[in-house]
């Protein structure tokens, strides 16, 4: 066990995976000599060389397209997209190719690429260094999507991603890259996909969150506790595959649900959680399902603190949900 920041845990996960298997390589913009703009690939170039830590030209199409070719050939490429906001030049390769290779080849061509990318707001990054568009990818059959909120999960989910046989989008909450620290096990300790993490148990209302929204959601739960409201906090962390059983079980206990995410609300991931509950936990529900999310606007720069959910807005909605009759 070592105390690490979240971004350090990502770095250790990469190092671990690359040491264990020479087929694992990293490619992307500024990942080599520079160690990544957030330093997630720090030290890897030195240890593994330019053949396995590949600085690419400025083309996300090229990064993901060549990563797919490498994966088809049998390597295990980990592509870094510098910001989720810049993934769109690769969107065609991701949704049309990566997600569909196994299926459309009748299982002949698995295509195991891990795409790592920092996402989310709160770093004064404005429209193009802050977005959370996980719903696009979650709506794309054939992709797995995971989001750690702790250093241990960052490393553990990343190792699972690298060893998975399917394409994985690994979203890193850059806002808490350095602000969250925690114990991280040494070695190849993996966190399975498809299993949510109950951060805090509670009986009155279920709060679902992931990534950088987990800390303020926990903070909100603490505030609520002071008001006598017992909130359960579920860190979804594996968005696809989703731990539906855990999502449903919590509401079966509490009868009330609040879904939290940074992304715009309309057609966001929270809609799926709400729809799932409205279908499969309907008879347990005692109150309207609330969503605390970004607004349905592009991501603003100067006023991002007003745009983003925080402990206060989450607690506010959760209180209303817990008390609704």
């Amino acid at each position: 066990m070592t105390e690490l920041t979240l971004v350090q845990a990502v770095n250790r996960g990469l190092q671990e995976a690359m040491r264990a298997d020479s087929d694992v390589l990293v490619l992307g913009e500024d990942v080599g000599v520079n160690g990544g703009v957030f330093r997630a690939t720090e030290g890897l170039f030195k240890e593994f060389g330019a053949e396995r830590v590949i600085d690419t030209p400025l083309s996300e199409t090229g990064i993901v397209g060549t990563a797919i070719g490498m994966a088809l050939y049998g390597l295990k490429p980990i592509a870094e997209i510098q910001f989720l906001d810049f993934i769109y030049p690769a969107f065609d390769q991701i949704v049309s190719e990566l997600a569909k290779f196994r299926y459309r080849s009748g299982g002949q061509y698995p295509c195991h690429v891990v795409i790592r990318t920092p996402y989310g707001g709160g770093i004064r990054g404005g429209l193009y260094h802050s977005q959370s568009t996980e719903a696009y990818f979650c709506h794309t059959p054939g992709l797995k999507v995971v989001v750690p909120s702790t250093p241990a999960d960052a490393k553990g989910l990343l190792l699972t991603a690298v060893h998975d046989e399917d394409p994985v989008l690994f979203l890193e909450p850059k806002r808490i890259y350095r602000s969250v620290t925690g114990e991280v096990p040494e070695g190849d300790v993996r966190v399975p996909f498809g299993v949510a993490r109950t951060v805090r148990e509670g009986t009155d209302v279920s709060l679902y969150a992931y990534g950088a929204m987990v800390p303020p959601t926990v903070e909100a739960a603490e505030t609520l506790a002071a008001d006598g409201i017992s909130a359960e906090v579920i860190d979804l962390r594996s968005l696809v595959p989703l731990d539906e059983a855990a999502v449903i079980a919590s509401v079966e206990k509490t009868g009330r649900a609040v879904v939290v995410h940074e992304a715009a609300r309309f057609c966001g991931y929270g809609g799926e959680i709400a729809a799932l509950l409205a279908e499969k936990a309907f008879y347990s529900l005692k109150a309207p399902i609330a969503r605390v999310t970004g607004y349905d606007t592009p991501f603003p720069y100067a006023l991002e603190n007003l745009y983003l959910p925080n402990a206060q807005t989450i607690a506010h909605a959760a209180r209303a949900t817990a008390r609704a009759t």
């Binding site: 390589l25 053949e51 396995r52 590949i54 690419t56 030209p57 083309s59 199409t61 090229g62 397209g65 060549t66 990563a67 797919i68 070719g69 490498m70 994966a71 088809l72 050939y73 049998g74 390597l75 490429p77 030049p89 065609d92 390769q93 049309s96 190719e97 569909k100 290779f101 196994r102 299926y103 459309r104 080849s105 009748g106 299982g107 002949q108 061509y109 698995p110 059959p141 054939g142 797995k144 998975d164 046989e165 399917d166 498809g194 696809v240 595959p241 989703l242 539906e244 059983a245």
Partner: protein
Amino acid sequence: MYRYIARTVNEDALMAKSTAPKSSPTAEGASEGSLTPERRVAAYRLMVLARLTDERCLVLQRQGRIGFYVPLQGQEAAQVGAGLALEPGDWAFPAYRELGVALTIGVPLGSILDQLFANSGDVTKGRQMPNHFGFRSHNFVVASSPIGTQITQAVGAAMAAQRRGDAIVSIAFFGDGATSSNDFHAALNFAGVFKAPTIFFCQNNGWAISLPRAKQTQSPTLAEKALAYGFPGEVVDGNDLTAVYRAVRAARARALSGEGPTMIEAQVYRFGPHSTSDDPRRYRADAELEAAKQKDPVVRLQKELMAEHLLDETADRAIWEAAKAEVAAALTAAEKTAPVDPHSFLDDVFASPTPRLVDERVRFEELLRDGVVKP
């Protein structure tokens, strides 16, 4: 430092450093560049087989026996020539028109027809439209419809081979239209930077559906686009089997020697419609087609072989008859093959199904059982 570049209109400059002789059917010698008489006759057989398969498939589609078809007539020499130049272990990244390449690298005609019929013999399990072939057995990577995407993937595969130390190349097949795609740019740029052992094989058949070559880009040739990425491009007469073969062999040798990629523009002409959904009379002149047909690659090779006494009329007739019989037999077999399993559309989304997919299968089974959906 003030300099002005005006190569664009200077065709001579293009050829200044030509490293290969003008093509001539008799120029043989260098073993890389030569095809033995036997292989040329074998190539002719493949071209005839491709031609006859194509003619038959167009009819099958009109009869509603297959859902769609993309013809390749006019591109037989380019496809067979390129296919012959590959070695086992090389990886092909085709588009949807590469039936002739598949045949050449040894994919059985029956497997091809199974894909067109999307039956239970189809190794892609009926998941894709006709002509989107994929045969892992032959490193013939499954084609998709979005134009250009396979080009970048081919570069990635080549980089992987390079890293593994495998002495193979990847070859990306694409059309003239695809040179306008994002992936063309990304792929050639990456290949140049990483000296990937990739061959960019562009079949310029004159058209991207209804858009003629001249309106796709202002560069005089497509091949010269390679220069923008720091490696050579070459224009080759795609109706000339030997010229195509030779160009691909040279590119292959270059790639394996570590010098990097090459782009080849095989100039051909699409005799048929873009696909069975297309009506070329809306946008192209009959005269253009007629002129192109004068250069029919199958007829050209037939004449060459006859002139060289490698073929006579009897042998030729036998080749056509044998091909016809092969197509007929394969067709009968494909039509007899059972349809694809109705449950199979739920497989292969992931290596193993997620709980959500397990649920969906249960739901689907219930619908089937209750007769709500009928296979």
